[in-house]
C-alpha cells in the first residue's frame, strides 16, 4: 500500500508540470470555470428559452446599479488602501525582535480565524447606535441618549463595513509581508546601510520596492474580496444604495423569475470590474 502510493507520487512528481497540475486545474476548471460560464449564460437567458441582451440592458440602464457600483468601489478601494497601509506599518514594527514579540504577533494574527459574519456582528455590537460605544458615551454623559451617537453602521459612508474589512484584512496583509521580509532577510538593507543610506532611506529605497510585488498581490486579494462579498454589507450596509453584491442577491431571491437573469448579469458585472481593476494594478506595477 505505502509503496504504491509513493510510486504514484513519483510518477506525478516527475511528469510534465501540466500533468502534475491536472488535478488542481480540473477542480478549478469545473467548479469555478463551470460556474462562471453558467452564470454568464444565465445572464443572457430569456424566459421560456432563447437568448437576449435584455437583462444586461436593464441592469446597465438603472441608476441604482451605478450608485451601487460606486459604493462598492468606495468600500473596496478604501478598505484595500487602509489595510495595505496599516498592514505594512504593522509588519515593519513586528519584524524587529523585542521582548514579548511572540505574544504581539499572536495577538496581531488572532482575528484571521474569525469568520466575516461573526466579525460584522461584532462591529454591530460595538459601533451601532445601540452598541457598546454609544452606551458608554451616553453613560459618561457625552450624549443624551445612545441614539445621539453618530451613525457608524448602516451609514452613508459605509464606515462600519470599511472598519470591519480593515480589522479583518490588516493581519492578512501583515502576515504576507512578514513572510516576504523573512525570505528577503536583512541583507539588502544592510548593504544599503553600509553604502551610506540612513535607516529611513534604506527602507524607502530598498525594502519597499522589494516588498511591492507582495503588497500588490495581497491588496488585489483584499480588493476582490471586499468588492464581491455579500455578508458584511448586508449586515452593516444601509438600504440604499446597497453594495453591488447585495443588489445581485436581492434579484436572485426575488419571486419574480424575470429578475434571475438580471441577478446573473450583476454578478458577472462584479467579476468583470474586479478582474479589470486587478489586471490594471498588476500592469501598472510592471
Amino acid at each position: 500500500m505505502a509503496g504504491s502510493r509513493t510510486s504514484a507520487t513519483e510518477v506525478l512528481g516527475r511528469g510534465h508540470p501540466w500533468l502534475s497540475l491536472a488535478p488542481a486545474l480540473c477542480v478549478i476548471a469545473v467548479l469555478f470555470g463551470g460556474g462562471l460560464v453558467l452564470g454568464l449564460a444565465g445572464s443572457f437567458a430569456e424566459r421560456g428559452g432563447g437568448w437576449s441582451l435584455d437583462a444586461w440592458a436593464q441592469v446597465l440602464s438603472e441608476g441604482r446599479v451605478w450608485r451601487s457600483l460606486g459604493l462598492s468601489l468606495w468600500i473596496a478601494g478604501a478598505s484595500t488602501a487602509l489595510s495595505c497601509g496599516i498592514g505594512l506599518g504593522a509588519a515593519l514594527l513586528l519584524r524587529r525582535s523585542f521582548p514579548g514579540q511572540g505574544l504581539a504577533r499572536l495577538l496581531f494574527q488572532i482575528n484571521l480565524t474569525i469568520p466575516h459574519a461573526v466579525g460584522a456582528l461584532g462591529i454591530l455590537w460595538l459601533l451601532s447606535q445601540s452598541g457598546f460605544l454609544a452606551r458608554l458615551v451616553a453613560g459618561a454623559g457625552g450624549i443624551d441618549t445612545p441614539a445621539d451617537f453618530p451613525p457608524l453602521t448602516q451609514d452613508r459612508f459605509a464606515i462600519g463595513i470599511i472598519a470591519h474589512y480593515v480589522w479583518k484584512e490588516v493581519p492578512f496583509v501583515g502576515l504576507i509581508l512578514l513572510a516576504n521580509m523573512q525570505s528577503l532577510g536583512d541583507d539588502p538593507e544592510s548593504a544599503a546601510r553600509t553604502l551610506g543610506a540612513g535607516p529611513f532611506a534604506a527602507m524607502r529605497l530598498v525594502l519597499l520596492p522589494l516588498l511591492m510585488p507582495a503588497l500588490v498581490r495581497a491588496g488585489a486579494i483584499v480588493f476582490a474580496f471586499a468588492f464581491g462579498a455579500w455578508e458584511v454589507p448586508v449586515l452593516l450596509g444601509q438600504s440604499s444604495p446597497a453594495a453591488l453584491p447585495v443588489l445581485a442577491w436581492q434579484r436572485f431571491t426575488s419571486p419574480d423569475l424575470a429578475a434571475r437573469p438580471e441577478a446573473m448579469a450583476l454578478a458577472m458585472l462584479i467579476a468583470l470590474v474586479s478582474a479589470l481593476l486587478i489586471r490594471a494594478a498588476f500592469t501598472a506595477r510592471r
Binding site: 421560456g48 428559452g49 441608476g63 441604482r64 447606535q129 445601540s130 445612545p146 441614539a147 451613525p151 448602516q154 451609514d155 452613508r156 448586508v234 450596509g237 444601509q238 438600504s239 440604499s240 444604495p241 446597497a242 447585495v246 436581492q250 431571491t253 426575488s254 419571486p255 419574480d256
Partner: protein, 409 residues
C-alpha cells in the same frame, strides 16, 4: 415546456395501458349528485395522495399520525403524504397530466395558496363546487374576505381553507402605553415621536407587507385592489402612497435616509430601544422573543382597528384526482372542530384555525378558550376582528418595485 412535453409522452403511454373506466369515487359529477353518507361509503377503503410542503416535522407528524390515524380508524382510508420542497412541483404534475388528457392523475390533494392556486384556477386544474357538500364547511365563515380571497384570487368553492396567519404590531407597554391602532394614527404617532419608528426596506418580506398596509390605506380600503393587476388604478394610488411615505421620512429613524435591511434588524432595534414599534406576520414570534429574553416581558402584540393583512392557506382537489370521494372525506376531517383544535395546540403546531369556534361543539369551544397562549401574543380571534385580504402577486411586486424606485432611494 420540457416537463409538459415529458408529461404528455408519459401520460399517453399510461392512458394506452389503462382500461377506460370511471370509478364512482373518481367521477366528480356523480359525487356532486350524492348525499354525504353515500360519498363516505364510496370513499371507504380508498387511498388519498396528499402533496404538501414537508419541511417541518411537527406538521408532517400532525398530518401523517393524527389525521392519517383518524382517517384509517374511522373511514378505512389510507393517507399517503407526499412531501414537497416547492408546491409548484405538484401543480406542474397536475398541469402535465391534464394537458396530456389523463382523466385520472396521481394527486388527490395539494396544500396550497397564492400564486399556485391562481395557476390552478386559471388553468381549470382545480375541482370546484363541492365545498357545500362537506358537513364541516358550516363551521367556516366563507363571507370573511380573508377566507373568500386567496392572495386576491376569489376562492369560489375551488379550495377549502385550512389555517390562517395574520400580521400584527407590537409595542412595549413600559415605554409606549397607548400605541397607534390605525394606519393614520400610526403616521401621526411617528410624526409626534421622531426617530422612534421605521420599517425594513422592501424587498424584505415583512417590510413589504407594512408598505402594503399603507398602500391599502392610500387606496381607501382593499376593495379596489382585489383582483387582477390594474395599471391605471395602481398609478392613481401609488402617487398618494409614495407621498405619504416620503412625507413620513423626516420623522423616521435616521430621518429616513436609510432603512433597516431586514426584519431581524428591526427586531434588534426594538429590543435595543432604538425604535418603539415592531411588527411581524407571525405574532407568536413576539411570545418567543419574550421567552428568549430578547424582548422585555412588557412587550405586547396587537392588531389594528382598520385591519391587518391576513392570508389563509388551503387544500385543493385537482380536477383529475383519482379519488375525489376520499379527498372530500379528508377535507371534511381537516375542517372538524377537533382537528382544528389539535392543530392550534402550541405544542402540536400552533396554527390559527379557519373555523369560527362558536359554531363548533361546546367541547371544542372550551378547548379553544383554554388554549395556552403566551401573554404577549395577541389572540388570533382578536386579530381576526379586522382582517385585510392579501393582494395578488402582480400587485405586491409592483408595490415593492414602486417603493424602491420612489421612496427607498
Amino acid at each position: 415546456m420540457k416537463t409538459v412535453i415529458g408529461g404528455i409522452g408519459g401520460a399517453l403511454v399510461l392512458a394506452a395501458g389503462m382500461a377506460p373506466f370511471a370509478a364512482t369515487a373518481q367521477d366528480g359529477e356523480a359525487l356532486l349528485a350524492m348525499e354525504w353518507d353515500e360519498i363516505v361509503e364510496a370513499a371507504r377503503g380508498g387511498e388519498v395522495n396528499v402533496f404538501m410542503w414537508g419541511g417541518a416535522d411537527n406538521i408532517n407528524a400532525y398530518v401523517s399520525d393524527y389525521i392519517g390515524g383518524l382517517l384509517a380508524d374511522e373511514y378505512g382510508i389510507t393517507l399517503n403524504r407526499v412531501p414537497l420542497t416547492d408546491t409548484a412541483e405538484a401543480v406542474n404534475i397536475v398541469l402535465g397530466e391534464v394537458e396530456a388528457g389523463a382523466a385520472e392523475g396521481a394527486v388527490d390533494m395539494i396544500w396550497i395558496n397564492g400564486e399556485n392556486f391562481r395557476t390552478m384556477k386559471q388553468g381549470d386544474l382545480a375541482w370546484c363546487g363541492y365545498v357545500e357538500k362537506l358537513p364541516n364547511a358550516e363551521l367556516v365563515d366563507f363571507d370573511n374576505p380573508a377566507i373568500a380571497n386567496d392572495f386576491g384570487t376569489p376562492v369560489e368553492g375551488c379550495e377549502v381553507p385550512w389555517s390562517r396567519v395574520q400580521f400584527a404590531f407590537a409595542h412595549d407597554t413600559a415605554r409606549t402605553e397607548e400605541p397607534p391602532r390605525t394606519i393614520p394614527d400610526l403616521l401621526d404617532w411617528a410624526r409626534a415621536n421622531p426617530g422612534r419608528f421605521t420599517y425594513p426596506a422592501p424587498p424584505d418580506f415583512t417590510g413589504a407587507a407594512f408598505v402594503r398596509h399603507v398602500f391599502i390605506h392610500a387606496a381607501g380600503g382593499p376593495e379596489t385592489l382585489i383582483g387582477p393587476f390594474d395599471q391605471a388604478k395602481f398609478d392613481e394610488v401609488a402617487v398618494k402612497a409614495w407621498d405619504i411615505l416620503n412625507d413620513l421620512e423626516p420623522s423616521l429613524w435616521r430621518e429616513g435616509r436609510t432603512y433597516p435591511t431586514s426584519i431581524t434588524q428591526l427586531q434588534q432595534m426594538f429590543a435595543n430601544r432604538e425604535v418603539d414599534l415592531f411588527f411581524t406576520y407571525d405574532p407568536a414570534e413576539v411570545g418567543t422573543a419574550v421567552v428568549n429574553g430578547i424582548f422585555p416581558e412588557t412587550a405586547m402584540s396587537y392588531g389594528l382597528e382598520d385591519g391587518t393583512l391576513a392570508n389563509t392557506n388551503y387544500m385543493v382537489i385537482p380536477v383529475n384526482s383519482p379519488n375525489k370521494a376520499a379527498a372530500m372525506v379528508l377535507q371534511n376531517l381537516l375542517l372538524s372542530g377537533e382537528a382544528q383544535l389539535e392543530k392550534a395546540q402550541p405544542d402540536v403546531w400552533g396554527a390559527a384555525t379557519v373555523i369560527e369556534p362558536d359554531r363548533a361543539s361546546d367541547e371544542v369551544q372550551a378547548g379553544f378558550a383554554a388554549l395556552e397562549r403566551h401573554p404577549s401574543v395577541v389572540a388570533i380571534e382578536e386579530l381576526g376582528q379586522a382582517a385585510l385580504p392579501e393582494l395578488q402577486a402582480d400587485w405586491t411586486q409592483a408595490i415593492e418595485d414602486g417603493w424602491i424606485e420612489n421612496v427607498g432611494n
